[in-house]
Symmetry: C2
Subunit: 329 residues, 2 copies
DNA sequence: TTCTGGAGTGTTACCGTTCTCATCCCGCTC
DNA sequence: GAGCGGGATGAGAACGGTAACACTCCAGAA
């Protein structure tokens, strides 16, 4: 920067003003400085800027180290929105969603001087840890379910479950079975709630649920149990991967889909339209979620101090395909 | 830091020595300083450290903004290895793998002062852009295929294709068809090469290939063409998602798998064991790839200047499941 | 005894910005 | 024509660390 100033024949301060687009610089001077910057291939040193302004233009993301579809997609949504806003994102992942690892991840981000943190936080342990973090850092959680006193951006899981369940009921099924995700995840719990509510409201029998992890193996295992029960004609799965396992279990048991059993998933992950048969599922826009999370964080960043949490809830929608149809009876 | 020094009754320099575990500090003094740090809840300001040492302990990742399974998993492998080495990772994604966006991403990372860059670089355009980046930054590419003069960590795609093809030939199939990925991706091309070589070596007919994107939609489209040809008894797909589409197309055409047609995929993504039928596929360890990439980068970081590229190639292995079997003939 | 060397500590400069305040010059008002 | 306000610029001090060097001990060798 000193070199630029010298070359342009001005003080370093004027160079700084040009960089920061300060209005009070004569146009001619600005041009001279810009030319000098170009010819020296100057780039401002962000570390120094950070030191002086205590603002790093870097955002931290606390992520969950596993390949679940949702978190991945949100990362990209956040990153591209952050880029547009002039921020870089740093990622700290945790191996499991318990207190200690999350605190460590936050600490790492804070040490590196991030301006704010977005937690991809499907379990409350994460936001709890965040609240206890000894820092006045602006934080936003994305995914999971609403957390008291913590700004959150999420999909309305219960609504999604209602849509799916109602869809199956509307097709004429007497009731709908549910293969749930891990119930200590609020998202899984909210989907159970939405499903149950809808059955209640329709006066339908509420069958017992089974639960397991978010993957096809769990879906397969639980699907085998359902497959043996001829009264099962409609199944709502907590996500698409589970649905994949369920489809296979039903198929192996000789139950045709959707002729004998209808199946609906949740997520609308990329290839679910190519399952056998193509999966009817609840679509959620993860990238949008990421963008909204970033917008909320930026907003809270500008706020004085005791920020207003003000949650954001995004509505999911049904993406009907071939796996759900009226019962054959 | 000044406060810590004052509280401990030493100079700030001694505090710095304690932080950096310099040996020449009396044990008693060190204790006093550590106690002061604890009681003031002191954390060193990395921006200042970066400014002084011109080393940020941050690594940059240039990623591809799409949910392909491989890149995702590599990100986690890199991040956890980086964490262990005391680095934080910052991610800059690009919307497409052309020159300009990659340069911009690199520029963003450089501005933020990363110490090195790992490019998740399936296409040569990325490494080309990186080589032209006006900076002596240490770079490593992961994924893709070998790039002249650029340190690369990758899976041996050709070997994987050979394994898959040979597996099908060994089962007794006269030849093997191939549904390729986009041929401007070196990975896709290498898989074609490995497949073709193996057929040549076995003296088998080399059928024409079809190509498309890496997803199930492409697989379905190409699978429909193959399904109509009764001479097709074995299909090697460039990845698992394509295989999913192919499976569905074959199924719809009434061809049983593996009785009529055997199918082998590539990647071994999480739920491929729950396709119908479970997919035989070539397994690649993306997380390991990420770890190796990081190790290579750190190694090159320590090197004087004109670094030794020294590529790393990881061997894939077959994960046989139900979708490949001897031909029924 | 005197010299030497290294362990332990302090002093000062410097990393590259931004911020605050001072300065200068100009045109305007009274 | 003196006073005044504001635009354009510069000077110097932060920001919070690390690096280089100087200094003080004190033990052991000459």
């Amino acid at each position: 920067m000193r070199d630029v100033a010298k070359l342009a024949g001005v003080s370093h301060q004027t160079v700084s003003r040009v960089i920061n687009e300060h209005p009070n610089v004569r146009a001619e001077t600005r041009e001279r400085v810009l030319a000098a910057m170009r010819s020296l291939n100057y780039r401002r040193n962000l570390a120094a800027r950070t030191l002086a302004t205590r603002e790093s233009r870097t955002l931290g993301i606390v992520g969950f180290e596993t390949t679940l579809f949702g978190p991945e997609s949100m990362l990209y949504g956040i990153e591209s929105a952050a880029r547009a806003a002039g921020y870089l994102v740093s990622v700290a992942t945790v191996r499991d969603l318990s207190h200690r690892p999350v605190l460590e991840a936050v600490d790492r981000l804070v040490q590196h001087g991030v301006d704010g943190i977005i937690a991809i936080a499907p379990k409350p342990a994460v936001t709890t840890a965040l609240t206890h973090a000894p820092t006045g850092m602006a934080c936003v959680a994305v995914g999971g379910d609403s957390q008291a006193g913590f700004p959150t951006v999420r999909v309305d899981n219960a609504a999604g479950a209602r849509i799916a369940t109602q869809h199956l009921l509307d097709l004429g099924h007497a009731t709908v079975h549910h293969v749930a995700g891990p119930l200590d995840w609020p998202e899984a719990q909210a989907r159970v709630d939405g499903w149950r509510e809808t059955l209640y409201a329709a006066g339908a029998v509420v069958p017992p649920i089974t639960t397991g992890w978010w993957d096809a193996a769990a879906g397969y295992e639980q699907g085998r149990k359902l497959a043996g029960d001829p009264s099962v004609t409609a199944v709502f799965c907590a996500n698409d991967r589970i649905a994949l396992g369920v489809l296979r279990a039903l198929h192996e048991a000789g139950r045709r889909i959707p002729d004998d059993v209808s199946v609906v998933g949740f997520d609308d992950m990329p290839d679910s339209g190519y399952f056998m048969p193509p999966l009817s599922t609840v679509h959620q826009d993860f990238a949008e979620l990421g963008r909204r999370a970033l917008a909320l964080l930026l907003h809270n960043l500008g706020l004085p101090d005791g920020d207003s949490p003000e949650d954001v809830v995004v509505a999911p929608r049904l993406n009907p395909r071939a796996s759900a149809a009226p019962p054959r009876d």
